[in-house]
């Protein structure tokens, strides 16, 4: 599958949300832990050799699950191939917890759910759709039905935004 690699590399140079040197182990059998500089930028996790400026690789953080494996270790697993785990070894429990938190919040879909929540709440409290004033209330990406599959809010009330 083709992708705009140059632009992704350029993205990897932007100020990261979070960056650290961690131990990283790939998902293949026989992969060993290697020290990598790991950078979280938008919904990508870039990883670099410790002395290099260009990333070796990137992980798109959508449709994935992040789990605590150990005191200082977390894993990322992609839902389409759940047996393959990327492992990350941190230097402390605190760092581990912070990384897990950051990665969970780094997905576009997670942000979308936040947005729906805020939009719905503001509407409920004020009677006004907060996106109206910006002329973006009809944008598909802000529509409530996109999270009906996972939200446990009363679904019928949210359909008013359609």
């Amino acid at each position: 599958m083709r992708f705009n690699e140059k632009e992704l590399v350029f993205l990897s140079r932007q100020p990261p949300e979070r960056a650290a040197e961690l131990g990283m182990r790939g998902p293949k059998k026989g992969d060993v832990v290697k020290r990598r500089v790991v950078k979280l930028i938008v919904n990508f996790l870039f990883y670099f050799r410790t002395d290099e400026d260009e990333p070796i690789g990137a992980l798109l953080l959508e449709q994935c699950r992040v789990e605590r494996e150990d005191d200082q270790v977390f894993s990322i697993v992609f839902l389409d191939e759940a047996e393959r785990k990327y492992l990350f070894e941190c230097d402390s429990q605190e760092q581990c917890v912070e990384w897990i938190d950051a990665i969970v919040k780094a997905s576009y879909e997670f942000m979308r759910k936040n947005l729906i929540y805020y939009r719905t709440e503001i509407h409920r409290l004020t009677g006004t759709d907060p996106l109206e004033q910006y002329g973006i209330s009809d944008e598909t990406r802000f529509q409530v039905f996109l999270v009906l599959q996972s939200a446990s809010i009363h679904h019928c009330h949210l359909l008013c935004f359609l």
């Binding site: 599958m1 992708f3 140059k6 632009e7 590399v9 350029f10 993205l11 932007q14 100020p15 938008v42 919904n43 990333p55 070796i56 990137a58 992980l59 798109l60 959508e62 449709q63 994935c64 789990e67 992609f78 839902l79 389409d80 191939e81 938190d101 969970v104 919040k105 576009y108 942000m111 759910k113 936040n114 947005l115 729906i116 929540y117 805020y118 939009r119 719905t120 709440e121 503001i122 409920r124 409290l125 004020t126 009677g127 006004t128 910006y134 973006i136 944008e139 598909t140 990406r141 802000f142 996109l146 999270v147 599959q149 939200a151 446990s152 809010i153 009363h154 019928c156 359909l159 008013c160």
Partner: protein, 242 residues
């Protein structure tokens, strides 16, 4: 550079609904003729397939830090281009089948970035806090009148009675959100009217939208301004939609 391509491709076709789909003509990267492709926009990823029924995308364009412009084309009407700011960046030329489709795609693509979504979320988060603050203070002032800002009918509202009147959210929009660069942490208690607590959720996918969600990650920018280095010009939310 490696990419988790299989999982990225899976994101394209998995059950989460796409933001936009449709046929577009795409100018080839080697063969410069325009080819009709099926496009799926999801989040900040624009996937393209050979056919609508194809199971795997031919490619994906990561839409971070790009601008979308209308462009002149000798062979195609309704042409537009996705351009990136980096050196030797590719220009992706596409053409729609009619004016309306072109405008719709240009709009959707120019708002597809993670940065943009993050700005909107922050803005709404700020507004919600304002509204909740107002609700708290008006409750404190006038005890007998309960829940002034809450609509009739408890926790539910009927679609038919939704009226989109002028917002009761008062006060001018703050310029960007730079005043909150060091601001809100979700550990402070927010009295959400529906009685939900804001305890931090710890880990993995979450579907319940009932709790107030934690603050999305903030990118550290130079000088604490909101001007994103990747998407210039998106600093001030209120100006974004002018």
């Amino acid at each position: 550079m490696k990419l988790n391509e299989r999982s990225v491709a899976h994101y394209a076709t998995c059950n989460s609904p796409p933001d936009k789909t449709g046929f577009l003509f795409k100018k080839g990267e080697r063969n410069t003729a325009y080819h009709r492709r099926w496009f799926i926009l999801k989040g900040n990823m624009l996937f393209y397939f050979e056919e609508r029924e194809s199971r795997e995308p031919i490619g994906v364009i990561v839409l971070e830090g790009c601008t979308v412009e209308l462009c002149e084309s000798e062979s195609e009407e309704f042409a537009f281009a996705v351009k990136f700011d980096c050196a030797k960046a590719k220009v992706y030329k596409m053409a729609a089948e009619n004016q309306a489709a072109m405008e719709s795609w240009v709009k959707a693509l120019s708002r597809a970035s993670f940065d943009y979504m993050r700005l909107v979320v922050k803005e709404l988060e700020r507004q919600l806090e304002e509204v909740q603050e107002e609700a708290r203070s008006s409750q404190a002032k006038s005890k007998p009148k309960k829940h002034q800002l809450q609509p009739q009918g408890a926790a539910s509202f009927q679609p038919a009675t939704i009226s989109l009147q002028n917002a009761t959210i008062t006060g001018p929009l703050q310029e960007g959100v730079s005043s909150r660069e060091n601001g809100v942490s979700w550990s402070k208690p927010l009295s959400v009217p529906n009685g939900v607590s804001d305890t931090q959720e710890d880990c993995s996918e979450r579907g319940d939208g009932v709790r107030p969600p934690p603050v999305p990650p903030r990118r550290k920018t130079n000088g604490g301004s909101l001007e994103s280095p990747v998407s210039p010009g998106t600093g001030c939310f209120s100006k974004l939609h002018d």
